[in-house]
Amino acid sequence: MIKLVNVNMNFRGKQVLKDINLTIEQGEIMVIIGPSGSGKSTLLRLIIGLLKPTSGEIWVNGREITAMTEDELNKIRLEMGMVFQYSALFDSMSVGQNVAFGLHQHTDMTEEEIARTVRRKLRMVGLRGQETAMPNELSGGMKKRVSLARAIAIDPHIVLYDEPTAGLDPIMSNTIDRLIVSTRRMIDATSVVVTHDMSSVFHIADRIAMIYGGSIIETGTPDKIRQSENPIMIKFIRGGIAFPESKGRSRA
């Protein structure tokens, strides 16, 4: 379980997150939506300890992480995986080495066991036999899937996704959505997905939280969010905030 209590975050005097209170239950898929620059990715980075909040508490699996040292955080991070917006694959390593990286660093598995695990994880994300490919030989969608395989290689309890479908075509977005749902089912992980891709949100979310201007303005199940009467939420779902110019064009 992840719990954020009165979390505030300032960058160079500018408040990015204001009084965030959010609880994400074990095993659920929480999708955090909001326009670009609203603080979604910052929230994700706070949860995994890449950033420290200006004030507030962040609880991960019953432990408060904001006062932890990097070494203490590393123990918590062994229970977490993260898929980055631009995949963040190690470009000097092959696909197989990327997926095996965490296993080499943190387990006593033999080379044979690691190779078997890498094969299994790559099969899970539909990349069977791609172990020797280099990241620069892969498409954006394939990189995202390798990033997911790497994130789930050590069977984490929590998986964080930063804009997993950004820049992908609709078919690949759909594939990634299905992978997020199947990953939760296969490793029973709590998932936090940050996106502004509304076509993904209702496919995968157990609950949705909307961030606007650094604050959470609404939280609820997909059905509740669909019926929301909050004007900002209505505009966002219809594309009014994310794509303000589309309104003008549709009128023309």
């Binding site: 590393n74 062994l78 980055f84 631009y86 694959l89 190690f90 470009d91 990286f101």
Partner: protein
């Protein structure tokens, strides 16, 4: 006007002090993590940063030894001091030229490579990916590079001393008509092991400078390709400046 001048000067001074502080903190953290060194990564860096720099160091120092002799031999012969040429070049190479010039070449090749690689990793979130995977970037990236530079630059300097002396020998014997016996006897008379050892100590310090500045600039790279370019240039320039400054103090400490 005056207040603005002082404010700007103050900001520059604070910026410099912050940078110095950050470099020292990085150095301290790297020393702390030395015990976590991964021997496989260390060997790879030693080959990549050290062995691959050998050709350019050899080329540079061969011609440095040759030009030193071109400039000195004929003058020395004119005054009947041909028996000093070999020793002069050997001492100059051992104490100053080999460590400093190899250090500068090393800063240009290795310092730039370290900053560009780590800087690219920074802007593509690979450093964050390391942290997310519970791997300390200092232990994983900085420690092997620091040790590799510390070990490999002195080894390169040994090669530089030898090739520089060979270059000098070629010019002295073929161009200035100094006999091989006179040349080598001169080295035996003038040069002492401390000349070479002092140069190796300098090289070790320069290796640390190149590695720490290279890693620091890489880890603090601003976003984008332009940021990587600026960090790389900054890394090379700062390393070379620090090599020359520290060389003066090391020379005073080692040879005075």
């Amino acid at each position: 006007m005056l207040i603005e001048f002082f404010a700007r000067t103050g900001r520059v001074v604070i910026g410099i002090l912050e940078d110095i502080g950050e470099v020292l903190i990085l150095f301290g953290q790297t020393v702390y993590h030395l015990r976590h060194v991964n021997s496989r990564l260390l060997l790879r860096q030693m080959a990549h940063l050290g062995a691959d720099s050998l050709p350019i160091v050899l080329l540079t120092m061969l011609f440095t030894g040759m030009v030193m002799t071109v400039q000195t031999a004929h003058e020395f012969v004119k005054y009947g001091a041909q028996s000093s040429v070999g020793g002069l070049v050997a001492v100059a190479m051992g104490r100053e030229l080999s460590p400093v010039l190899a250090g500068v070449v090393f800063a240009g090749r290795v310092g730039a490579a370290i900053t560009a690689e780590i800087g690219s990793m920074k802007v593509t979130e690979q450093i964050d990916a390391l942290r997310v995977m519970a791997v300390n970037p200092i232990a994983y990236l900085v420690v092997p590079r620091l040790l590799a530079c510390m070990v490999m630059l002195p080894i390169l300097v040994i090669f530089a001393d030898v090739i520089g002396t060979i270059g000098s020998y070629l010019i002295a014997t073929f161009s200035a008509s100094i006999t091989p016996f006179t040349f080598f006897n001169s080295i035996k008379v003038f040069a002492v092991p401390h000349d070479i050892l002092g140069g190796l100590i300098k090289a070790m310090v320069f290796g640390v400078i190149v590695a720490i500045i290279g890693c620091h600039k890489g880890l603090t790279t601003a976003q984008g390709a332009e940021g990587v370019g600026q960090a790389t240039t900054g890394s090379v320039v700062l390393s070379i400046i620090l090599i020359f400054i520290s060389n003066y103090f090391l020379s005073v400490a080692l040879y005075q």
